[in-house]
């Protein structure tokens, strides 16, 4: 379970998250939508301890993410993250991109790491690309590689930060299909996205962010089809 309790985050004077309260249950898929700059990415970074917070608590499986005693490297093994930019390691083959972290972080042998990597690459449809280098692949393929790389750590949670925003339109589908696949696997996910229809069809709930607060949080279909707040209505009417 991921719990955010009254989380505040600012960059110098700029308040980016203002008292965020949010709970994501095991097995749940939560989508996060909202205008640019509303703090969606920052919230994901805070959950992963890639950014510090100034107030409140974030608890993942009972562990306080920002407590000084928390081993963030261990914590991050439980939380996979995929970014807008796919960030493939250019010096490693597709297989080694995925096998690296299991080997050096989890201490798997080369062979075990290879098997893990193969399994996850096959799962995202890259089973025939093992020895290719990422620079030879399309953005969609590299993004699926990034997903496989995160999954190879066998995390309990996955965070997705606008993973289709940097993709050519014709490549968006394959990545969204991969997310659907994960949902069927029962993965717990927080998905920051601009794909409203995808969010409605795939997630359990949707949170609408507005200037650092959760303006509305509701079951996915209800939030998209029947938004309660004026700001949600305005936002949806612009993007739909």
């Amino acid at each position: 379970m991921i719990e955010l309790k009254n989380v505040d985050k600012s960059f110098d004077q700029l308040k980016v998250l203002k008292g965020i309260d949010l709970t994501v249950q095991k097995g749940e898929v939560l989508s996060v939508i909202g205008a640019s700059g509303s703090g969606k990415s920052t919230m994901l970074y805070c959950i992963n301890a890639l950014e510090k917070i100034q107030g409140g608590n974030i608890i993942v499986d009972g562990v306080d993410v920002h407590a000084p005693s928390t081993n963030v490297n261990q914590l991050r093994q439980k939380i996979g993250m995929v970014f807008q930019q796919w960030n493939s390691f250019p010096h490693l083959s597709v297989l080694d991109n995925v096998a690296l972290a299991p080997r050096i972080v989890l201490g798997k042998t080369k062979r075990e790491a290879r098997e893990i990597a193969e399994k996850h690459l096959k799962h995202v449809g890259l089973g025939d690309k093992l020895d290719t280098y990422p620079t030879r692949m399309s953005g969609g393929q590299q993004q699926r590689l990034a997903i496989a790389r995160a999954l190879a750590m066998e995390p309990g949670y996955m965070l997705f930060d606008e993973v289709t925003s940097a993709l050519d339109p014709e490549l968006v589908g394959e990545v969204l299909d991969t997310l659907r696949l994960l949902r069927e696997d029962g993965m717990t996910m927080i998905v920051v996205t601009h794909e409203i229809n995808f969010a409605r069809d795939v997630s359990d709930r949707i949170a609408f962010f507005h200037q650092g607060v959760i303006e509305e949080l509701a079951p996915a279909k209800a939030l998209v089809n029947n938004p309660q707040r004026t700001r949600t209505q305005q936002f949806l009417s612009k993007v739909l």
Partner: protein
Amino acid sequence: MSETASTIQFFTGFSLNDLPFLAEAAGNTLLISVISISIGSVFGCLFGWALYASKYARIFLGSILDVFRSVPLIIQLLLFFNFFPILGFPLEPFAAGCIVLIVYTSALVAQVARGGIEAVPEPMRRASRSLGMSYFQDMRYVVWPIGARAMLPAWTGVALGVLKDSALVSVLGYLELLRASQILITRTQEPFIILAIVGAFYFALSYPIGKLTAKLEQRWQYD
């Protein structure tokens, strides 16, 4: 041995017998260069990392390194070599030359290495950290290999430069290629042929470095 030989045959022409003398000097050039470039590069990478990671290092270490980069090497050599006897620790020309060249190389490599680290995009480092890699694992397995590839061409330039600049250690009396050539020129009065041969020696020393790094660069291309 060659020294005594040359004093006996005063003003004799250049002969094949002088080649071993030059080869020995070339060996000395190679020795001092390899030592300076390798140790200097290790320190340079550490300094480059410090410059990248810390604001204070940028201010303090950065300005110190700037001094070594901008003061002419020959002045550094003479200052350093003549400074130690004053303290009561006279240094061999070889040791003094090595130390100055190491510092000089590390000052040059520091900037190159810092550029190499900066060539690794921040989001990529967030990605590796998000996989649970520690700071040092990220450095070792992601930043270093990518940064090293990025800095290779500039590093090659530094290495070739230091190889040639090692000639300046001759002012301390260390018998390397340039000094050997001066000795032979004084004796034989045949500067042309000797400088041509010495030039060929320098080329023979540099060529493999250029060749090797070009090969590496090709092998390290991302494909």
